[in-house]
Amino acid sequence: MITFFDGVEVGLALCMVTAALFCLFDRHLLRACCFFVGFALCMALAWLILEAPWLAGVEGLIGALLTAPCLFYALGSFSHAAKLPPYDHIREPLSRGVIRTLLALAWCLMVGATVRFIFPEMVYSPTEHPLLLAGIVMIATAMGAFAWHRHLVRRLLAFNVMGSGVFLLLAGLAGTNAQGQALITVGLVVAWLGSLLGALVIRRLYQLEGQIALSGESALKEKGK
C-alpha cells in the first residue's frame, strides 16, 4: 500500500513538474494555459492524496474552474475581436536568462537545504517526499520564470505555479492540519483574486495600448510622442 502510494506520489510529482515546466516555458500561450488546467487538476489530486479533501475541492474549484477562465479571458479566447497574439515573441537578452537561472538555482538550493534541515532523514531516501521536492522545484523555477518573462500572461502563470509550489511545500512541511489548510485556502483565494484582477488589467491594457508586456517609462513616453 505504501509503495503504491509512493509510486502514485512520484508519478504525480513528475506529472506536476512536467505540466508546470510546460506551462512556464511554452511560448504558445493557449497551450501553456491548457497545461495550467492540467497542473491544477494534478494539484487537486495531490491534495486528495495528502488527505485534504477540502483543499482538493477548493483547488479544483478555484484553480481549474475559476483561475483558468481568467487566464483564457486574458488571452482573449472568449471574444473574437481582440485576441492576444498566440505566441510570446519577446526575446530577452541571454544575460538576463543566465542570471535568472542562477538565481533560481540559488533559491532552489536555499529552500531545499532548509527543507533538508527540517527533514534530516531525506538524506537517506531523497524520494521519500516527492511532492515536497516537486514543490521546491516548482517554486524556484516559477520564481525564475517570473523574473525572466516579460509577457504579462506568462508572468501571471508563473505566479500561479509558484503559489501552488508554496502550498505544496506548506502542506508537505506542516501537514494538512487546520492551520495549514487555512493558510492554503487564503492563499488560493488570494491567488484567484490576483489572477482575476491581473486578467482584467491585461485585457484592458491590450485594448487601450496594445501592450502585452510592461515597458519602461521611456518606452511609454516615446509611444506617447
Partner: protein, 496 residues
C-alpha cells in the same frame, strides 16, 4: 524586542465594551465602504457622519490601552487560533490609520465632484474601507496567518484602488504593482511555510518562546525579508512606487504612501526582531540600502519633472531613514539607551512621515487638479493663485526636511542621538545628506512655484475643505512633534 511589540501575556482580559470597540474599528470601515458603494456620497457631510463611530471606537480602545497597558484577544475558528493584541504602539498606529483614513474619506467627495466622473469611482469607497480595516488588522495581528490575511487584503485593495483611475499609465503601473505584491506575499508565505514546518505554530508570542537561531530562522527571515522589502518599496526594490503614484487618485496615494507601505515595514521589523534577535550583518545590509535609498530617492526627487514623481521619490528617501535605524533596533550589541531612542525615533518618524506625506500628496493633488498641469514647469507661478495649497505643501515639507517644530525634527533628533550614542557616523552622515537633498528638491519646486514671470492660467476652483483637510494633516505632523511626549510615552509604555 518582543515586549516592545507586545508579544507577551497580558494580565488583563478585555472588557466586553472593548470587544465591541474592536469589532467597530475592524468592521465598520468595511461596512461603511460597502454602504458608500451602494449610495455614493456626493457631499462631505455623509462621510463626516460616518467617521465618528470608528474614531470613537479607536479613542475608546486608546483609553482602554492606557488603562491596561496591553490587551489581548484570542479566538479559535475550526481549530485555527487567531490572536490580536493592542499595546501602545499598535494603538498609536491604529489611531493614525483611522484618522488618516477619515481625512482621505472626507477629501474624496470633493475630488470626485470636481474631476470628471469615472466609471469605477464608486468602487473607491469599499476599497478604502478594506484598506483601512486591513491596516488596522495588520497593526493588531500577532499570528502569521492573520498577518498574511491582513497583508493580502491590504495589497489587493491597494492595487485595485490604484487601478481605478483607469488610464493606461495607471493600468501598467498597477499591473506591475499587482504582480510584485503577489510575489512578495508568496515569498512571505514561503517563509511562513518553513516556520510552520519546523516549529509547528503560527502565533508570534509562542514562536518567540521556542524560536532559536538556525538555518530555518535564517532562510525564513531572508525570504520574508525580501518579500516584505518588495512590498514596502525598500531600495532597490522601490521601482514600482513612483509610477503607481504618478497616476493614482490623491486620497489613494495619500493612504498608500502614508500607511500601506509602512505596514509591510512594520511586519518586517516585527518578524526580524523575532527571527534574528542577534543578527549583525542583515540589519546592516538593510541600513546600507537605506543610506543609498536616502541619497537615491533624494536625487531622483531633485531631478523629477513631475510633482507626483517628486513626492513619491521622497517617500523612497524617507523610508531610507527608517531602514537606517534597523541595526539599532535589531542586533547584538546596542546599548539600551540607543535602542530606546531608536525605537522612539523610528515610530515617530514613521507617523510624522505618514501625516506629512498624506498632506503633501493632497496639496500636490490640489495643485494638479486646479491647474491641470502635472510637471513642475507647468506649475510655475502657482503661488499667486493657490497660496493655501502651496502653504500646505510647505508645512508638510517642513516635516520632511526635519525642521523644528515638526515630528520629523523630533524623530530625527532622537535618531541622531541614538546614532551618536552608538557611534554610527555613516548613518549620521546619511541623515544629514538626506536633509540637504530634501531641502534641495523642496526648494526646487518652490522656485518654480514662485516664478513671477509665468503666464497666468485658468484655474479650476477647488471644492471647499480640500485644502483644509490637507492643512489639518500637515499641522497634525507639527502637533505630533510638539506634543511628542505623549506618543513616546505610549511607545515605551509596553515596557511595563
Amino acid at each position: 524586542m518582543t515586549w516592545r511589540f507586545g508579544l507577551v501575556e497580558s494580565t488583563f482580559t478585555p472588557l466586553l465594551t472593548s470587544h465591541w470597540a474592536l469589532a467597530a474599528a475592524l468592521c465598520l470601515p468595511l461596512l461603511f465602504g460597502v454602504l458608500a458603494a451602494i449610495l455614493p456620497p456626493r457631499r462631505m457631510w455623509p462621510v463626516a457622519l460616518a467617521c465618528p463611530p470608528i474614531l470613537v471606537a479607536g479613542l475608546y480602545l486608546l483609553t482602554d490601552t492606557l488603562h491596561a497597558g496591553l490587551l489581548r484577544w484570542q479566538w479559535e475558528f475550526f481549530g485555527v487560533s487567531v490572536a490580536l493584541r493592542l499595546n501602545g504602539l499598535s494603538i498609536l498606529l491604529l489611531l493614525l490609520t483611522q484618522w488618516m483614513g477619515a481625512a482621505a474619506a472626507l477629501y474624496t467627495p470633493g475630488l470626485l465632484r470636481i474631476s470628471e466622473p469615472e466609471r469605477f469611482a464608486r468602487w473607491l469607497w469599499p476599497l478604502m474601507g478594506v484598506v483601512t480595516s486591513a491596516l488596522s488588522l495588520a497593526w493588531l495581528a500577532t499570528d502569521l496567518l492573520t498577518l498574511y490575511i491582513a497583508l493580502e487584503m491590504m495589497g489587493l485593495a491597494a492595487v485595485a484602488m490604484l487601478l481605478l483611475s483607469g488610464k493606461a499609465a495607471a493600468l501598467q503601473a498597477g499591473m506591475r504593482y499587482l504582480l510584485l505584491t503577489l510575489v512578495g506575499s508568496l515569498a512571505y508565505l514561503l517563509g511562513v511555510a518553513l516556520i510552520v514546518g519546523y516549529w509547528g505554530r503560527l502565533d508570534l508570542a509562542g514562536l518567540a518562546q521556542v524560536m532559536e537561531p538556525g538555518p530555518v530562522a535564517w532562510m525564513a527571515a531572508a525570504l520574508m525579508g525580501a518579500g516584505l522589502a518588495l512590498k514596502a518599496a525598500l531600495f532597490p526594490l522601490h521601482g514600482w512606487l513612483s509610477p503607481v503614484h504618478a497616476s493614482a487618485w490623491t486620497p489613494v496615494s495619500a493612504l498608500h504612501a502614508g500607511l500601506v507601505v509602512k505596514a509591510s515595514l512594520f511586519v518586517l521589523l516585527q518578524l526580524w526582531s523575532l527571527l534574528l534577535p542577534d543578527a549583525f550583518w542583515a540589519p546592516r545590509l538593510i541600513a546600507w540600502m537605506g543610506m543609498l535609498a536616502i541619497i537615491w530617492g533624494g536625487l531622483i526627487a531633485w531631478r523629477a519633472e513631475s510633482l507626483k514623481t517628486l513626492v513619491a521619490s521622497s517617500t523612497v528617501a524617507q523610508l531610507g531613514y527608517l531602514m537606517v535605524v534597523f541595526p539599532l533596533l535589531i542586533g547584538p550589541d546596542t546599548s539600551p539607551l540607543a535602542r530606546a531612542l531608536a525605537w522612539e525615533g523610528f515610530w515617530l518618524q514613521l507617523m510624522g512621515h505618514a501625516l506629512a506625506k498624506a498632506a503633501m500628496f493632497m496639496s500636490a493633488g490640489n495643485l494638479i487638479l486646479a491647474t491641470g498641469e502635472t510637471t513642475l514647469k507647468g506649475l510655475a507661478g502657482t503661488s499667486r493663485r493657490l497660496p493655501l495649497s502651496l502653504l500646505v505643501f510647505g508645512v508638510a515639507s517642513v516635516t520632511l526636511m526635519g525642521l523644528p517644530p515638526s515630528a520629523g525634527f523630533t524623530a530625527k533628533w532622537l535618531l541622531l542621538h541614538a546614532m551618536v550614542v552608538s557611534q554610527q557616523w555613516l548613518a549620521v552622515a546619511a541623515l544629514l545628506v538626506g536633509t540637504l537633498l530634501t531641502a534641495a528638491y523642496i526648494f526646487r519646486f518652490f522656485r518654480y512655484s514662485f516664478m513671477e514671470t509665468a503666464p497666468r492660467q485658468r484655474y479650476q476652483p477647488l471644492a471647499p475643505g480640500m485644502d483644509m483637510i490637507a492643512l489639518c494633516l500637515a499641522l497634525a505632523a507639527f502637533v505630533l512633534g510638539l506634543l511628542a511626549h505623549f506618543p513616546l510615552e505610549l511607545l515605551q509604555g509596553g515596557s511595563a
